[in-house]
């Protein structure tokens, strides 16, 4: 898979390139700042871009802003944000443009390289890959006690449904969820159907309902 990496810490950038290459991935460009990232993506048209949240010059949210710009220019290229912390405002900024082909993972997840590459594949295929920490943070922020609006359907989820929902938000397939919770795939499907009903999501084509449920659960979508 063709990948572009934007990471300013040299030791991490080199390590990531080496690691992905060892796993048969094709890193077509590895750059250190947002401008170089946009140029590299324009030139190489990768399937996915791995982008550090903090990039020079100010090391705040340059990566997120670059990702939003990337999404505008090339909606078909998957974006995986790469960060040492869950900075939930940034995750929200990114998801506000839709969760299609978007991921947000903590840097330490690369140590489980197979899961990491799995996440890259999901994002490249238009799915999501949210770090469990990101999901927890976003849900926590969305379920603040003073949150205005109508009663939240998420509060009516059973504990089991919440577990399924969290894994779904991470971008797992039904099979992966079943394996993670040690239950049957049929049971997972049942829980998901119940979640859709509670979120009042209409029947539509493909994965769209899944994405909508995740966004509602995270309190990002409308």
């Amino acid at each position: 898979m063709r990948i572009v990496i934007a990471e300013d810490t040299a030791i991490l950038r080199d390590g990531l390139v080496q690691l992905l290459a060892a796993r048969g991935q094709e890193v077509v460009a590895a750059v250190g700042d947002a401008e170089a990232l946009l140029a590299a993506v324009d030139e190489h048209r990768p399937r996915v871009a791995v982008v550090d949240v903090r990039l020079p010059p100010d090391h705040t949210d340059e990566g997120v802003r670059a990702a939003v710009e990337l999404r505008r220019r090339h909606p078909d290229i998957g974006i995986l944000m790469f960060s040492q912390y869950v900075e939930h405002r940034f995750a929200t900024d990114l998801l506000a443009h839709g969760s299609h082909g978007v991921g947000y993972l903590l840097k330490e997840r690369v140590v489980d390289i197979d899961d990491f590459i799995d996440a890259l594949n999901r994002v490249a295929a238009g799915g999501t890959a949210l770090d469990p920490e990101v999901v927890t943070e976003l849900v926590g922020a969305a379920r603040g006690p003073d949150r205005p609006g109508p009663p939240d359907p998420a509060t009516t989820l059973t504990p089991r449904e919440t577990e399924v929902m969290t894994l779904m938000a991470e971008g797992r397939t039904n099979a992966a969820i079943a394996a993670a919770l040690a239950i049957g795939e049929r049971a997972v499907e049942k829980h998901i159907a119940s979640i859709f009903a509670k979120f009042d999501l209409p029947l539509t084509e493909g994965d769209h309902r899944r994405v909508l449920a995740v966004l509602r659960y995270l309190g990002v979508g409308s």
């Binding site: 030791i11 390590g15 690691l19 040492q84 840097k107």
Partner: protein, 433 residues
């Protein structure tokens, strides 16, 4: 340089010369007339316009005008008498709305307005007595000359007209007699000199009473300023630590994780292969190096936050610091009394660290002397270097930051750094914060 805590108004009477006092009376009168007219007009206009959106702005402008007068007035006093009048509190926020809010609620600014307005009687006395006595004194002194141009003709009962001054029924109409007026003129000028000095002193006393914040207000101001600094400084420090961890040890540990993945991969293939084995060894070396670097970075970071050796006391901590220093440094520590508070020890330690770094970096010193003294409830730290000198605290610079930091515990910093050196910086700290 001395931090604000040490600035106390000098109670000694100002040295006021006659020339300076006379100049002062004239200049301050002119200044006052301009100031009071401008401020009153703006103030009145503002009050009239207060029903419109412009009213408050015009009133703020009036306060600003009074402040400008105060600045000029203080400048005048500084120029003529070398006397420092403490200014009212300065604005700290920026922006136009902050400007208006500050001026409207600005006690110091309103005191300047009050000074301008209440000074009316004093100003009149100044003009009449100070300026008047001087003018008349000169006129009288020069009477023997001026009498030739006078037009003092007094009709007499007998119908004739007599020319000349006649105070108290004494006719001064001859040249010898006119010298009597000169003598009176000299006396008047001498009196004017005395009066001018008294009036100038009274004026300044009045300014200090009305405008200059009292000791308590000055103290509050110092505390506010140093608290703001302390809060900003600790936020900046935390941010720096976070950045250091993020870019340093944390990144290295993630890299270490990646290197271990590669190592594991290399071990999972046929381990008997010699080439494979060499590659694995190389990966182990890299991982080891990464771990070592991470450890070193963490240690450096921890030392920057709080050197562990400081728990054993200032003496061993400074010895370690000096031993690792860039330039050879002689150290003496004499603290006969009880140990200073930990916060003070830490502050003294970081002051020495920063001053030695400055000496090596900016002054290109070849050696330095550090002397730490405990005297009663004060801790005095003196760092002397043989570098190029010429160190001055600039706003936002290291030395100003040092003084601000030391000011948060009511300590002071004195810098003696003539061009060409040597530089002696003395930090005086209380032993308890």
């Amino acid at each position: 340089m001395t931090s604000p805590a040490a600035e106390k108004p000098k109670p000694t009477a100002p040295r006021i010369t006659f020339a300076a006092a006379s100049l002062y009376l004239i200049a301050s009168s002119v200044l006052w007339i301009v100031g009071v007219v401008a401020t009153s007009v703006l103030l009145l206009a503002g009050v009239v316009l207060v029903v419109t959106p412009f009213g408050l702005w015009v009133i703020a402008a009036a306060v600003s005008c009074a402040r400008a007068f105060g600045r000029l007035y203080r400048g005048l006093v500084r120029k003529l008498f070398r006397e420092r009048l403490e200014p009212p509190a300065e604005r700290t926020e920026s922006g136009v709305l902050a400007w208006r809010r500050f001026l409207l609620a600005d006690g110091g600014g309103w005191m300047e307005v009050a000074f301008l307005l209440i000074r009316l009687p004093l100003a009149l006395v100044n003009i009449v007595l100070g300026v008047g006595m001087w003018i008349y004194g000169m006129l009288w002194l020069l009477w023997p000359l001026l009498r030739n141009w006078d037009d003092l003709y007094t009709p007499q009962p007998d119908g004739s007209v007599r020319r000349g001054l006649h105070p108290f029924d004494i006719w001064i109409d001859t040249l010898p007699r006119s010298f009597l007026v000169s003598v009176a003129g000299v006396a008047l000028i001498a009196m004017a000199a005395w009066t001018a000095r008294k009036l100038a002193a009274l004026d300044m006393l009045f300014y200090r009473t009305v405008v200059t914040p009292g000791r308590l207000a000055a103290r509050v101001r110092h505390l506010e300023r140093s608290r703001t600094y302390a809060v900003d400084d600790s936020a900046a420090t935390l941010r720096r630590i976070e950045r250091d961890l993020h870019d340093g040890a944390q990144a290295r540990l993630v890299a270490l994780g990646m290197q271990l993945v590669l190592l594991k991969d290399s071990l999972s293939v046929d381990a008997a292969d010699a080439e494979q084995l060499a590659q694995s060894r190389g990966l182990v070396d890299t991982a080891q190096q990464t771990a070592k670097t991470a450890i070193t970075e963490l240690r450096t970071l921890v030392r920057g936050i709080h050197p562990p050796v400081l728990d054993q006391g200032l003496d061993p901590a400074l010895r370690t610091l000096v031993a690792h220093g860039v330039i050879p440094t002689a150290l003496t520590v004499e603290i006969p009394g009880p140990r200073p508070a930990p916060a003070i020890e830490a502050m003294a330690y970081f002051c020495v660290a920063e001053l030695l770094t400055n000496a090596a970096k900016h002054a290109s010193a070849r050696q330095a002397v550090v002397h730490v003294d405990g005297i009663g409830d004060r801790l005095r730290v003196r760092v002397t270097d043989d570098g190029g000198g010429g160190a001055v605290p600039r706003p936002g610079g290291g030395l100003a930051g040092l003084a601000d930091r030391v000011g948060t515990v009511d300590g002071t910093v004195q810098i003696d750094s003539p061009a060409g050196g040597p530089t002696v910086v003395t930090v005086d700290l209380p032993t308890k914060p």
